[in-house]
Symmetry: C2
Subunit: 451 residues, 2 copies
């Protein structure tokens, strides 16, 4: 059966090599790997239409695969079938510099996109850290350190070309900056994790590269104080570019890992960006505010070299943890109303202490989104259990406080179990939407909801 | 039949008075009035559940009614049945000042909401001019003069409580500022014009009242130059608060109507808002930029009194036109990529000249959204025809240029005919979403799509 299917798709666009099957069996999470039957590399939208038509005919699952940087196993083809890889669909379709807008194929990565547009004084600001594909970022509604200013992917997507499960091609928006026409399909496909359709073109907003960027860092006695200080910055109305919390434990890990001497205290990292006078003014206002809140060690940086130095502890944190031998990482991704952030951060820190596992609390505190990262030995069932317990306690508490179990990483396999707790009755509606868009259940089956 | 239905709803919550039937037969548009069979005034979500359950049982249409300020006939119960009015559901449910967030009932109006939160130094920025209800603003995805900074309702909605056609109650989001959990139901209900469910609670973001507001105005030789200058402001990355275009004809109307002496030229109106130093800096940068683009008559205002004076021509424009005796107004609401705005504005101006009707071009040029307003005699079929022709030419050209037929007013009755031109195949998907959410077609039937 597979052989006939592969022939119809064109042998040269398919791979069953061991390395490709392995690559497409997992992402950056620690969810169990499952290999697809084969990997298909479409070159254009017609190829995507074809794979979906054939998948219908042969009743085979189709799972889109971006850069595989997902943290919830979204791209793992758990029911096997076809993994659809967009490496060959990574080109600019149309560039509209004067409209601050670009249309690209989904396989283009964030860094490729920025390389292309930076030359024109523009940039695409959503920054999940990893060099994710634009298609994957849309599919997970990614965000990251700049969300406090630019929101998440959903706020940047203007239009998508999507191939539906039945092979028909639609556009979900337009090139207008806002619209009240028709139902908001942009929104529903963004964050749908390949379960409602396959994205073949993405039109996103671009932004002018800020003339000037300033960075700063300061420390507080407790993570709770960090969160409260961050809240004050938000209330001030200042259009901050980034505002990150890194707890003392994580700074300690970075110091050990890189032989640094960063102050081992709960830290806030800031970035200000815009026209020079405005940025200087913003930094001054925030410095005063932080000092009112009793911060220590205020440092700021001007040149790009100094900035990188100042933010190093934030940037190297994930690597510092991952460096720990014999352990793998897992983590939480909750997002709560800002007033609940201090409580959550303290709760997370306490859970980590109680677990006895090494781990840190950090996050994009400008949006109330924070992560815990826990290191555990995957072969030690007690540690596995404890890590899982920490994650679930945090997710459930966030939901109880009116927040979400996932602020940016998405549902995939890891957050399915919290969907009813978070969305209640609405899960039934979501499932019926899934059944409407994909009646045969061929699109990334087994993700997001228990059907 | 109706009698039994009314009894079950409770006589005291129903009105069949002539004045109420008349009030609920139309909105601010010139679409033909149709009276509902009766008006129901729910007091809580249970009442809304009840009306939907009974509407199912009796197979009667249900059309939500906000403040009736809609411009596309969305609230007109064209198939009669029950008009559901939210005047009794206009309270604050929960206020979270430290989270810059509030939950209100849908009947609360924009000004009521601001009156409530302003005391706490906060405000809700979406400003469609009219004192619309929050429920109606969600249902039409309203925006207005502040969209250049705050986007539209969809960007401000965090959570909705919605009663579905079958009477079940769901929440569409959470109180977190961002989320990647589940399908984006917030987005699909926002802008659904009462066709997918009835909104019974709305949680929106609030913002700190800017410390300082500055206003400015300048003129250009042609509307095209205005649009190009506006584009330059956007590219500069300055976080402007409002930026409006008003053409010379409209200024002339205002001068005649109010005996003013505003310079009768194509004008740009600006508002800057934020902390004092930053705002001053922004105004200076824009002034220099506008002068580079050859603006005339740059004027700026500091005090709130001067500001109102400076913006008067913008604020009084609609009234000035409506003052013309024997005529009614209609208009277009297209939104296009910024680079196409000059072309559209020139096109709109030319169509108006050719029609021989009195009318103006103006709009929220910061988002590429602009309006034409045409005055015509509803009893003169040639004028009716010409007005309609102008509107349709603009809508179709906007769609051709990659834009939308409605940037903010919504589809209702007036923009149904452009849905296929704008959305193509996606209309079929939208219709199937409608059929899924409302299988019996009881929710505001006859709107948005031709079924
Ligand atoms: C070190 C590190 C830091 C991270 N930090 C952040 C962060 O700060 N914020 C954040 O949001 N994320 C973060 N992530 C997670 C990850 O980068 C994002 O989830 C990213 O959006 C995934 O993109 P991808 O291209 O790697 O997608 P993949 O992992 O390959 O796939 C993700 C999902 O997208 C679907 N998909 C991919 N392409 C398409 C398509 N064309 N059509 C339809 N569906 C498609 C897949 O089926 C899958 O469901 C981080 C990851 C790492 C490793
Ligand atoms: C002078 C003037 C200027 C305007 N300028 C703008 C502008 O700049 N920008 C802009 O966006 N609009 C503008 N409008 C249009 C209008 O104000 C908006 O469309 C507004 O959002 C309508 O709100 P409403 O409460 O009056 O709703 P209504 O007109 O009563 O109803 C509108 C739609 O919402 C639905 N609805 C109402 N309540 C609910 C509910 N609880 N649940 C579900 N559906 C509901 C109704 O069924 C209907 O489909 C203007 C109108 C006027 C008169």
């Amino acid at each position: 059966m597979l052989k006939g299917l592969i022939e119809k798709l064109g042998n040269q666009k398919v791979s069953q090599s061991e390395s490709e099957l392995y690559r497409h069996s997992g992402d950056e999470s620690s969810h169990t790997r499952v290999e697809p039957d084969f990997v298909f590399f479409p070159e254009n939208v017609e190829d995507v239409v074809k794979v979906l038509q054939l998948a219908n005919e042969y009743d085979v699952p189709v799972t889109p695969y971006g850069a595989g940087s997902g943290l919830e196993g979204q791209a793992i083809p758990i029911n096997k079938g076809i993994s659809v890889n967009f490496d060959q669909m990574n080109k600019v379709v149309e560039f509209f510099p004067e409209d601050l807008m670009i249309t690209v194929e989904p396989g283009m990565t964030r860094l490729q996109l920025n390389e292309y547009v930076n030359k024109h004084g523009l940039y695409f600001p959503i920054d999940p850290g990893a060099d994710a594909s634009i298609g994957g970022m849309v599919a997970t509604n990614a965000s990251g350190t700049t969300a406090v200013r630019y929101g998440s992917m959903r706020d940047q997507v203007l239009d998508l070309e999507v191939v539906l499960a039945n092979g028909s091609i639609i556009h979900t928006g337009s090139k207008a900056k806002k619209s009240s026409s028709g139902y908001h399909l942009n929104g529903i496909f963004t964050g749908s994790e390949g379960t409602l359709g396959i994205i073949t073109k993405v039109t996103v907003k671009l932004h002018g590269i800020p003339e000037k960027v300033l960075a700063a860092r300061c420390t507080f006695e407790t993570p709770g104080e960090c969160a409260e200080a961050a809240q004050a910055v938000l209330s001030s109305g200042i259009q901050i570019m980034r505002m990150e919390l890194v707890d003392a434990e994580s700074i300690k890990q970075v110091n050990e890992y890189g032989n640094y001497t960063f102050p081992e205290a709960h830290s806030l990292f800031f970035e200000f960006a815009g026209s020079p006078n405005i940025v200087e003014e913003e930094a001054t206002v925030v410095e005063e505010l932080m000092k009112e809140f009793g911060c220590k060690n205020w440092e700021h940086a001007n040149s790009s070299k100094e900035r990188i130095e100042l933010w190093k502890a934030r940037h190297e944190m994930a690597y510092a943890y991952k460096h720990i031998k014999g352990k793998v990482s897992t983590g939480s991704d909750s997002c709560v109303p800002i007033s609940k952030l201090a409580e959550m951060v303290v709760f997370g820190r306490k859970l980590l202490e109680e677990s006895g596992l090494v781990g840190g609390v950090f996050g994009h505190v400008g949006d109330g989104n924070f992560h815990t990262l826990v290191m555990y030995d995957p072969n030690n069932s007690v540690e596995v259990e404890k890590a899982e317990y920490t994650n679930s306690q945090i997710a459930l508490k966030a939901i109880k406080l009116g927040g979400t179990c996932t602020g940016e990483h998405g549902v995939g396999l890891g957050k399915m179990k919290y969907q009813v707790a978070e969305h209640g009755e609405a899960v039934e509606l979501m499932k019926s939407v899934k059944a409407l868009f994909d009646p045969k259940g061929i699109l990334n089956p087994g993700k997001m909801f228990y059907i």
